[in-house]
């Protein structure tokens, strides 16, 4: 393991299964990335990286790009699940048919831990706000919007959810119920809509509430997973609208202790997002959710 960074966990990405491909440089060098609304930087492994994790991923080589511009900037990002250190450079990023020129991005020199070697992604493309971007690097969507490359300042379909904090895609949840009874978040709570976290996660005691629910106990006692469908939905009520999550989506035990500074915080990760077409509306600082057809 690199001496600079002690080994960092990767829980948040453990179950992420959906990835996109972007091209960086001219000619484009391809990378598989997580489109992560829970962070704001773009970084990919580079030829300067000697960590084990880099031996099994695509590496960006600035020498092979006629449009690469180096900087004196460096980057060190702790994603809560892992850290990466590297240098900052500019180049053209091809994403979704858009040619995003002069995009600043990180070229990793060290990547933590040996487990990243097995990660299905090369790097991470952050889609949260610039205010939380490491080294003040402009996020991809901001750079695209600033150049007028898209006509609307949003990257999905819009319903209506006011943001309570600009930085992460953080929203207010009214309640979390099962069979019509509040099992958590009875007085309302905060949640972050995060495509870069695979699971639906919450504080230990409300999760214990959910797990202590009689029908779940019965299921575990019998160890009969085929009866999962007999479990009730967990219903998230957001802005007065109910968003049920079926048992087939939420059955996976999550471990971990919370240290949020502002009370009860939930992460609406891919498990939740897969149930709903999610909109990230930068123009109005809102998140929209629409049941998938």
């Amino acid at each position: 393991a690199p001496t600079l960074i002690d080994e960092q966990p990767l829980e948040n990405y453990l179950d992420v299964e959906y990835f996109g491909t972007i091209g960086i440089g001219t000619p484009a060098q391809d990378f598989t990335v997580i489109f992560d609304t829970g962070s704001s930087n773009l970084w990919v492994p580079s030829v300067y990286c000697s960590s084990l994790a880099c031996t099994n991923h695509n590496l960006f080589n600035p020498q092979d790009s006629s449009t690469y511009q180096s900087t004196s900037g460096t980057l060190s990002i702790t994603y809560g699940t892992g850290s990466m250190t590297g240098i900052l450079g500019y180049d053209t990023v091809q994403v979704g048919g858009i040619s995003d020129t002069n995009q600043i991005f990180g070229l990793s020199e060290t990547e933590p831990g040996s487990f990243l070697y097995y990660a299905p992604f090369d790097g991470i493309l952050g889609l949260a706000y610039p205010s939380i971007s490491s080294s003040g690097a402009t996020p991809v969507f901001d750079n695209i919007w600033d150049q007028g490359l898209v006509s609307q300042d949003l990257f999905s379909v819009y319903l209506s959810c006011k943001l309570v904090a600009v930085g992460y895609w953080q929203i207010s949840v009214d309640s979390i119920t099962m069979n019509g009874e509040a099992i958590a978040c009875a007085e309302g709570c905060q949640a972050i809509v995060d495509t870069g976290t695979s699971l639906l996660t919450g504080p230990t005691s409300p999760i214990a509430n959910i797990q202590s629910d009689r029908s779940q106990r019965e299921l575990r006692r019998r160890g009969d997973c085929s009866a999962i469908s007999s479990l009730p939905d967990i219903v998230f009520t957001i802005n007065g609208i109910q968003y049920p999550v079926p048992p087939s989506a939420y059955i996976l035990q999550v471990r971990g202790a919370w240290t949020p500074e502002s009370g009860e915080l939930w992460i609406l990760g891919d498990v939740f997002i897969r149930q709903y077409f999610t909109v990230f509306d930068r123009a109005n600082n809102q998140v929209g959710l629409a049941p998938v057809a």
Binding site: Y18, G38, G80, Y118, G256, T259
Partner: protein, 43 residues
């Protein structure tokens, strides 16, 4: 104009580690608070 980024589904890190017999070791070493992603300073 709507720009679409096609997402592809790949084997998750969990499954990859499990297939290489490393998942248990990973879970033993990685038991952090998933919210630390948002509060790195606190960590």
């Amino acid at each position: 104009i709507i720009y679409k980024v096609p997402l592809v589904r790949k084997k998750s890190l969990r499954r990859n580690l499990s297939e290489h017999g490393l998942l248990k070791d990973f879970l033993k070493k990685h038991n952090r608070n998933p919210a630390s992603k948002y509060f790195p300073q606190a960590e």
